[in-house]
């Protein structure tokens, strides 16, 4: 694959990701929306940091503010898990990038589901959170085996399960390249500024 020229001085550094190995934590509910991931009342922030403490706020805490012992992410075994396996259609709803920010700030580095909503997927990739879609049989296995230690290889787009079984997952080649190299896409766009100028000049109508 040809490499893209990206000027580092205009990029926001994103840590390159090559391999992620972790035990999983499971949220089997389907259609988990971004209002659950990070409720709107925490969106009054003007920075990207510190949202992890509000991740899944309504499910994670009891009314008195203490941890809900029945919530999967609070289980002692889930501590340090970097891979979240969720029910179908994860991340539906609003465009808030606060959702991947909150997941990353909490320590989640990949989300696996049978379907991931479009805007959430796009936002995740721009922040180095891996949105991974798998087929129903792998998904079922993961749901049935919480805490399994699996590894995700971004280079080969493969997941390795504990029994060494492997499956590939689909990913846009550009997105994969950006993850591997830790590239921010603004720099890529800026390298095309003459194309953009030409387009503005030549188009048959002006907005």
């Amino acid at each position: 694959m040809r490499t893209h020229v990206v000027t580092s001085d205009t990029s926001i550094p994103m840590k390159p990701i090559k391999i992620l190995t972790s035990n999983t934590v499971i949220l089997p509910s389907t259609d988990i929306d971004t209002d659950q991931i990070i409720p709107a009342r925490f969106l009054t922030t003007t920075t990207r940091e510190g949202l992890g403490k509000h991740l899944f706020s309504e499910w994670r805490y009891l009314k008195d503010g203490s941890d809900n012992p029945d919530f999967a992410l609070n289980a002692p075994a889930a501590k340090g898990s970097e891979i979240l396996v969720a029910g179908n259609n994860f991340g539906c709803g609003s465009s808030r990038e606060h959702a991947p920010w909150a997941l990353l700030d909490f320590g989640i580095k990949a989300v696996i589901s049978t379907e991931i909503a479009d805007i959430f997927r796009s936002n995740s990739l721009k922040n180095g959170l891996l949105p991974i879609v798998v087929g129903p049989s792998v998904h079922d296995w993961l749901l049935d085996n919480p805490g399994a230690s699996i590894s995700i290889d971004v280079e080969t787009s493969k997941i390795t399960l504990p029994n060494n079984e492997q499956c590939t997952y689909p990913i846009d080649s550009f997105a994969r390249h950006c993850l591997l190299e830790g590239i921010d896409q603004l720099g890529f766009l800026q390298n095309h500024i003459t194309d953009i100028e030409k387009f503005e000049e030549k188009r048959s109508w002006k907005p």
Binding site: T10, T44, T45, N123, I193, P207
Partner: protein, 469 residues
């Protein structure tokens, strides 16, 4: 083989904005004609610009408003702004500062056009057929009602557009949703779109751009079309679009940002060519007969969990999510939804806060009272709509019935500005999302049309509006 491939509306707008086409290795660079911004999803993007010492490339194609964390009680001082806390107030203030610093036009508290971002774009005539329109908000799909390609983006992408006026995009698949038949009395665009989401599911449109077509759509006014396109995202679609026609052109003619004179004629000629070619192929097609639709209400915690108002809450589909949703809603399958007592009624949001929405609610409320113990909030989509409604005397109907009449904003749609539904309360809402806690912690939301909302306010329970028509 013919080399003139029949193209859909989406494909036409897409290819008209390609700065660089996509390849296997790289996404397309898509030019953006209109970037709408608001206070919640932009501060981090402006921070990036500031740290990279970049200007906003096209402030003339960027338009700001205050809506999400903005109070709906009059704001005269900073103290008024703090109604939802310091953070919300600071966010609004930051937006004012950012727009000033970067030279972006902001519809601030002194503007007649301040209001919900998806309401003011069309109202100003800035939303036009054939444009690409983005905003850090998923309901940007609303603008597709004009034949624009309009979709929500994240904050990183807001930064991309501010800095370069472009986005990196992959072409979406196309999905035709054909709706035919005449709507019965008391059945509105909101009911149509809820029925569609019920049919195709909340992920039915993922990866696709929906084009709504058919005679039901053709006979709808622009406000109804906006309601339909608004909720495309609730079916998971990237965007929703409707081919522009004379209804579209009549709506736009003479508006502040619409082309004038000779430019208007040229624009209309261009817009007329946007409709999908006959026999253009779609990746997916669904059709829906609208003539036998009843008013629709949601019973669960996503917009796809929807039934006709006279139907019972459907039986369990066996999934844990379904059970979780009914437990949260405190509803039982097999029982009618229309018996459920209501605590709050909200008429507002970018789905249903335009003048016709307010008129429909007011027609039912006129000469009647909001039931004891029910709080009803009516929040117009923009200050202009507020003025127009007041000129028609609608505010008097609402306040005489016992409802609160507010300044414009998102308000109870997402409860960021201090307008919230209380813990455990049941709300009948004309907004677009019934997610857990969307309208406030522990709030239970039933999505409905403005007519159903008004009827429910009168009866104090989820109620069928048809008996008031």
């Amino acid at each position: 083989m013919s080399n003139t491939k029949r193209r859909t509306l989406y494909e036409k707008v897409w290819s008209d904005h390609l700065v660089v086409d996509e390849s296997r290795d790289t996404p397309a660079i898509l030019y953006i004609d209109l970037h709408l911004i608001h206070e919640v999803t932009t501060p981090q993007a402006f921070s990036v610009l500031r740290s990279l010492e970049l200007p906003v490339r096209r402030p003339d194609l960027t338009l700001g408003t205050l809506d999400h964390s903005t109070p709906t009680l009059p704001v005269r001082t900073f103290k008024d702004l703090q109604i939802a806390g310091n953070d919300a107030a600071n966010q609004v203030r930051k937006m004012q500062q950012n727009c000033q610093e970067f030279g972006v036009e902001l519809h601030d508290f002194d503007s007649i056009h301040r209001g919900i971002v998806h309401v003011i774009g069309p109202e100003l005539g800035a939303t036009q057929p054939g444009k690409t329109i983005v905003c850090g908000d998923s309901h940007t799909s609303t603008h597709g009602a004009f034949g624009a390609l309009a979709f929500g983006i994240g904050t990183t992408e807001v930064g991309h557009v501010l800095a370069t006026q472009c986005l990196l995009q992959r072409k979406a698949r196309t999905f035709a949703v054909e709706i035919s038949g005449q709507l019965a009395h008391g059945v509105t665009a909101k009911d149509v779109v809820l029925a569609i989401i019920g049919k195709i599911g909340v992920d039915g449109g993922t990866g696709h751009v929906i084009e709504f077509c058919g005679d039901t759509i053709r006979s709808m006014g622009m406000e109804s079309r906006m309601t339909v396109c608004n909720m495309s995202i609730e079916a998971g679609a990237r965007a929703g679009m409707i081919a522009p026609d004379t209804t579209t052109f009549e709506y736009l003619k003479g508006r502040d940002n619409a082309p004038q004179g000779a430019a208007w004629k040229r624009a209309v000629n261009r817009w007329q060519a946007l409709a999908s070619d006959t026999d253009a192929a779609y990746d997916k097609t669904v059709s829906l007969s609208a003539s036998d639709l009843a008013p629709m209400v949601t019973f669960g915690t996503n917009p796809g969990m929807v039934v006709p108002i006279d139907a019972d809450v459907p039986h369990h589909d066996g999934s844990t999510s379904y059970k979780k949703a009914l437990d949260y809603m405190q509803l039982e399958s097999g029982k009618p939804l229309s018996q459920s007592p209501v605590d709050v009624v909200f008429v507002g949001s970018c789905t249903n806060s335009r003048l016709t929405d307010l008129q429909e609610a007011a027609n039912i409320l006129e000469g009647r009272k909001v039931a004891d113990g029910v709080r009803m909030l009516v929040v117009p989509g923009s200050q202009q709509i507020k003025n127009d409604a007041e000129a028609l005397g609608l505010h008097k109907i609402f306040t005489a019935a016992g409802a609160e009449w507010r300044e414009s904003g998102c308000s109870m749609c997402l409860g960021m500005n201090g307008d919230t539904v209380g813990q455990g309360q049941l709300s009948v809402s004309t907004s677009n999302r019934n997610f857990e806690g969307r309208q406030g912690v522990g709030a239970r939301t039933v999505l409905a049309s403005p007519m159903t909302a008004a009827a429910s306010a009168i009866e104090g329970r989820v109620a069928d509006p048809r008996r008031y028509l």
